[in-house]
Amino acid sequence: MTVWSIIGAGVAGLAVASELVARGAKVQVFDPGGAPGPHGCSWWAGGMLAPWCEYENAEEPVLRLGQMAIDWWAKRTQVHRRGTLVVANPRDLPDLRRFARRTEGFSEVDDRKITLLEPDLHGFEKGLYFDAEAQLNPRQALLDLSHQLQDHGVEFHHARAPTGLDHAIDCRGLHAREYLQDLRGVKGEMLVIRCPDVTLTRPIRLLHPRVPLYIVPRGDGVYMLGATMIESEDSSRITARSMLELLSAAYALNPAFGEAEVLEIGVDLRPAFPDNLPRIRRLGPTIYANGLYRHGYLLAPALAKGVADLALDNKHSEMVDEDRT
């Protein structure tokens, strides 16, 4: 029986492994970083399953392919289906109107409805509520996938993949760029804070003409604040400006965030192709699955299905843009 070698145990690699195993294939996983952790950019993600919100500034496949993600993940990890609330300060209401025009799947909410949804949000007169959206905890999701795979007898090698593998699936993100010339890194910065004084129960997006940001509750008063989007490939540092912007957004949602404890600072690079959509390429013995950009958890299920279709059934989904076996 063919053994598929998945290279890279981030969200792309683990989702591909999970999909292949679900279809009865045999797989092994290589990642020199070992268990999921801060070495991979999936660790720093927001974990929002928000295809309708993302569609505001993304192309159509993100909406269509993203919608399958919620059920795919719900079979594998805990998914919170409490929707997304999008708000803007009164002076930025044109941005809220623009956002509403560019997408679908929401209802308009006024200050009373906003207070009903999130009693700790103040000073917002209008918002958009996307009730079908969901979120997951990215770190838990990665751990859940690896445990499930191990339970299915999948071997995890904490080492670089040997060269010359026959049935390899390269899911290494930006590390694969020597084989994927049109891949680039888009810098993202995020913070994890603890603020038990504020209770928010679903992802909140705060629109702003220059720095739109979101805050995702992780439970126990812990929140993830994200994320900047900068065309830069320096993942070594967060700038003071970015940190100011992130914290100002939280402060604007509720001034009690001023008392929050900063737990973590995350900086990493999202792998992206020029149209910011994922790609599957088969070059010789290796299938490359990459370019999830800011949609790691949202599009990994569709990417995994596309890879499994190609690997097992030789079917070419829309993400396959090159096949040279």
């Binding site: 810098k187 900068i230 065309e231 830069s232 490939e233 320096d234 700038t239 400006r241 020029p274 149209d275």
Partner: protein, 254 residues
């Protein structure tokens, strides 16, 4: 046709490279706009934007780096030097922000930075207000182009003060003038060209529209229309109707 430091522009659109949904859309928008110049920001992420900058170079249009986000002369001068190295050009769009909310230019620092940079061999495109005296000072500092705002950056309000912009055109007939900032609609861009401006610089209006590729084309057509109209010497507006066909000889009294 006026030139920009000796370089003529066949398409007087200067298009920004920020805020597009993706680099692929940016590229299509540029191709559709026929823009002669791409502006690009260097302030964020010193040195680490190489991949993106290469994409901008690959657009094969003239690159006008800017000092967006700089609040002091020192920052702006440093950024200009970096831009000269990265893009191998003497051109610099000098932007000195005086106020975070309105992004209004700080014209006092602007004049000072313009003098320092022109003395250092830069060809400065200053983002300024519509103030005539500031314009004079910038020219005295060595600038050969002026770029007054139409309205605050990203506001999309069009030409806020047409009177002042007309006065500026009249005051500096030989100087290439560019409307920089405030354009939201193609009609705004056409308006600027109809006033006799030599080019229009815009970014948000295209990048943040629902279809940047289509809006880029709309801007191109509007600028072309506005320029043709200016060259064609439009009629004066008047208070009374003026019939386009003679009435004498018609049985209008019957």
């Amino acid at each position: 046709m006026k030139t920009f430091y000796g370089t003529p522009l066949s398409n007087p659109l200067m298009l920004g490279t920020a805020q597009y949904p993706s680099p692929a859309i940016l590229e299509h928008a540029f191709r559709n706009s026929g823009a002669g110049v791409a502006t690009v920001s260097l302030r964020r992420e010193a040195g680490a934007g190489q991949t993106f900058w290469q994409m901008v170079r690959d657009l094969s249009v003239l690159v006008l780096p800017n000092t967006a986000g700089c609040h002091t002369v020192k920052e702006a001068v440093t950024t200009a030097h970096m831009a000269r190295e990265v893009f191998d050009t003497k051109w610099i769009k000098l932007e000195l922000i005086g106020h975070t909310d309105s992004l209004q230019p700080d014209v006092f620092q602007l004049v000072e930075a313009a003098r320092i940079l022109t003395e250092d061999g830069f060809e400065v495109f200053p983002y300024t207000t519509d103030d005539l005296i500031v314009g004079e000072r910038l020219l005295a500092a060595g600038c050969e182009v002026l770029m007054p705002w139409g309205a605050p950056i990203g506001s999309g309000r069009g030409l806020n003060n047409e009177y002042a912009l007309r006065a500026m055109r009249a005051e500096f007939p030989e100087i290439p003038l560019v409307i920089d900032a405030g354009i939201g609609l193609p009609s705004h861009a056409a308006h600027a060209m109809e006033l006799g401006y030599d080019a229009v610089l815009l970014n948000t209006a295209v990048a943040r529209s629902g279809d940047p590729v289509a809006m880029a084309k709309a801007m191109k057509l509007a600028i072309e229309a506005g320029r043709l109209a200016y060259q064609a010497d439009p009629i004066e507006a008047r208070d009374m109707a003026e019939a386009s066909t003679p009435v004498i000889g018609k049985a209008f009294l019957s």
